[in-house]
Symmetry: C2
Subunit: 514 residues, 2 copies
């Protein structure tokens, strides 16, 4: 449609061959993303106060289990009421609020590539890959238990795709490795195949110590990483009202070294909390704040994020339900509460229950992404690759989600209002009833004027049929394979690479392999 007015020749179009997947990422580079819109907030100030009061009552009168001796000691020393036989703690609101006061409102999460270090807080929006999927799936190999090769492949894609800010450390579970050493190969892959910010695993003290040691190798020593965190690791409450030993080992192990933790109650309303959303949110608030307070007991000032992962259970199947109105509202309330306490917020984008990369996968994903972004979640987990209630990390879903995130980023970039973009001259030049294809204004700008799709097909029906009528999942598969073919690892100091490899080798010998 673009013609040069002067001589009627077809103007050159940007090439977009199917073999050129990398070039499709060119206008979707890594970029720091802020949300300029006012956050969507579902609660009145009175409702925030009512939820706060309910949470404080939960902590004061009902209490929380902390299944870890050191955590119990810390609470006892701080003046909380501790019942050692049951590892049960009740916490007065005065103590709790005093502990929250030392948590930073925002912080920098350092990446191996300094240009990719992230601000966590305010209206900064950071997208993380899916985490914790036991299965991997792509259209070629089908759905199967994850492997280290799958984990490495997904880290490569995460490195390549601009809209991804954070590589989740549990991406897809390498079930082909013995459990006690998996974290070593995962961390090695993250550090060598990507230069982006990352999360680690809160799987007890020993695992945390290994992650800390590896980060110290990469970032120039323990002191350096204590100054500025390099991990923002998910610590789940074992809801209702319990933190288990493994998670607490992680919380303490990371917080002690100034690493960020993301304290996230895992609440499916109707199972881990009452069915009423108000109760689920009050309970989430109590659990999150209790965990956050503990990080400040471990190390005052330790960076920490208020995490929300509240949705409902499906009362028919007993499954968790994702992309639901309840999940969206819980996300928006969570963000509003985190801001009330001046804490960064973590939500989830990309959640869905679909077993295949279809319309359901997409509408549930968007129903989770939009509230996460518009609720100003500073860390948006599971934003790419999540399928089947999180059981599956899908190659095609990952690519499609990257498109969704890129579209969102471009939307958040807003519009430029100035005489040149208002273009009254061009409007006058064309006048009534003409078209703008060949104006100087158009020709000077059309290459970069609009978002260029990655997966979306805008051909006409006949052309699409000629091409074999591929659906979005099939196109995403092709793109994903092409991107992996084009992958090149980011630079890493050779001495660091060797030291990392040696560390992993040594620890594999030391750790008991069941």
């Amino acid at each position: 449609m673009i013609r040069d007015r002067g001589n009627g020749r077809r103007a050159q179009r940007p090439q977009r061959g199917r073999g050129d997947a990398l070039s499709l990422l060119a206008d979707k580079p890594f970029q720091h993303t802020r949300n300029p819109f006012t956050a969507l907030e579902p609660l009145t100030a009175e409702q925030v106060a009512a939820i706060h009061d309910a949470s404080m009552t939960i902590l004061e009168e009902i209490g929380v289990d902390f299944l870890d001796g050191e955590a119990i000691d810390l609470w006892a020393a701080a003046g909380a009421r501790v019942e050692r036989s049951s590892s049960h703690v009740t916490i007065d609101r005065g103590l709790l609020m005093a502990l929250l006061a030392t948590a930073p409102t925002q912080f920098t999460l350092r990446a191996r590539n300094p240009a990719r270090s992230l601000t966590i807080g305010s209206n900064h929006i950071n997208f993380a890959t899916v985490g914790g999927a036991p299965f991997y799936s792509d259209l070629e190999s089908g759905r199967r238990p994850g492997t280290l090769a799958d984990f490495r492949r997904m880290v490569q894609l995460a490195h390549l795709c601009g809209p991804i800010h954070i590589v989740e450390g549990l991406l897809v579970e390498p079930q082909d490795l013995p459990v006690p050493v998996r974290h070593l190969d995962k961390a090695l892959a993250q550090f060598t195949l990507s230069d982006k910010a990352m999360t680690a695993a809160a799987h007890g003290r020993e695992v945390a110590a290994d992650y800390i040691d590896m980060a110290a190798i990469v970032f120039g020593g323990l002191e350096a990483i204590q100054e500025q965190p390099v991990y923002a690791t998910i610590v789940n409450a074992n809801s209702p009202l319990r933190f288990d030993e493994r998670m607490l080992g992680g919380l303490i192990g990371y917080a002690r070294h100034g690493q960020a933790t993301v304290i996230t109650p895992f609440i499916l309303a109707g199972a881990m909390s009452p069915v009423t959303l108000a109760a689920a949110i009050a309970q989430q608030n109590a659990e999150a704040l209790a965990g956050i307070a503990l990080t400040q007991l471990v190390r005052p000032g330790a960076p920490v994020v208020y995490g929300g992962f509240t949705t409902n259970i499906d009362m028919q199947s007993g499954s968790p339900a994702f992309g639901t109105p309840e999940g969206a509202l819980a996300l928006l309330c969570g963000g509003q509460l985190a801001r009330h306490y001046n804490l960064p917020f973590r939500g989830s984008g990309g959640l869905n229950n679909s077993k295949t990369v279809d319309a359901q996968a997409s509408y549930e994903t968007q129903m989770s992404l939009w509230p996460a972004v518009m609720g100003h979640a500073n860390v948006i987990l599971h934003a790419a690759g999540w399928l089947e209630a999180g059981l599956v990390c899908s190659l095609e879903k990952f690519i499609i989600d990257v498109e969704g995130l890129a579209i969102m980023q471009r939307t958040l970039a807003g519009i430029t209002i100035e005489p040149e973009t208002l273009a009254l001259d061009a409007i006058a030049e064309v006048g009534s009833g003409g078209h703008h294809f060949g104006t100087a204004h158009t020709l000077a700008r059309y290459r970069s004027a609009f978002y260029m799709p990655l997966v979306s097909d805008r051909q006409n029906y006949d052309k699409w049929r000629e091409d074999g009528a591929p659906d979005a999942a099939q196109r995403a598969h092709t793109l994903g394979r092409q991107l992996l073919d084009a992958y090149e690892p980011p630079q890493l100091d050779e001495a660091v690479a060797e030291e990392l490899a040696a560390f992993v080798a040594r620890r594999k010998l030391e750790l008991p392999v069941r």
Copy 2:
């Protein structure tokens, strides 16, 4: 998972058999929908002023074609500068703003069923079906030119599905009927198969007159419909800067009788406007306001809606591009501008470019629905059934979109914060580490606690495979067929039905059938 605590029996679950599609709609009834969230607004006050000023300059210095003698007479009489030879009008901002002043800020759109009459304005959100698709598609019959049977089928579905507020009068084009009489059968179908609010066709004076006559038959005479509009009909500007004869015949025909018009410039940036979004929005604003002002010249106080349908052209294929960042931003800006002028706003949900009901269809749809809802569009057109850049009305897409709209409605309903829903007793009863499946609080509420999906599948992988691994489109097809089997027409006074039929029969004899 639900057990009655007392005797360990499995509590009765709400039945959700595949054969019971109607019952799945039971918790998604027709409901008036408001958006309690603050509207997302991308523009600062200065930017609104800059766009306003650019639009005024466009109207004052560049002008608009009105290809209709009566429209030209009205403008001349009002004091605009008119060039009769080219039907060109330039309008001073003082005159324009004075004309806008008589347009109502909100109005009631009357439906045949008074409980389904709608408020158009403020934060009221009303979802309309797709309109204007030349093709129809379902998984059984494939993609083919639309027929009257398809039109009637879609009206039936629109009537049945609670989340749909408005039946778009151009839904799917009955290409099996001669062009000059199509509107008669369409209007007859709308009035007899549904009792919801509707739009008509702005296809010239004669068509408008027939719609007016039919509405007078249904609603008790011309005076009754002049008191309260029963149509909200789309009038497109033929951008750039032109209203054609057919649309103006419609605009004048409807406005004269107090019917609502939705003045909607059809702008694909890069084709009908400059490529820069600022220019596209300024031009949209100029065109929309010019059309709105004309309605007030025809009948001061005539209900009218500021319509936005601005997106970009795909510079590769020359196709319109939907679900884009540019479209989302234009939608949000449009809403903000309409509010600036105290006018109701029309946006679009459900837009997409996909040729099939896949992930692309869904993510582009959501990328259009969310800005429409969060930008407080009072009429959201194309919210169900749109596929393939609007060329296709899809049965499966319609059902899937109804799910998306129902999820959105439930989200907008917000949460209830009160002692009973905060449920501190239930939280205390279960305490740490237990579960809430069998508490009295859960058992009393679980049936209606959460949104129940229509299309979404939450079964586990094995069960889904056993069921034949249907994707969302296949499930939607089954649901759509089941709903149509269960359809029953709403009551209509027999005398009215007969008069309508007689009118249609008479007009078919009078109209020239080419």
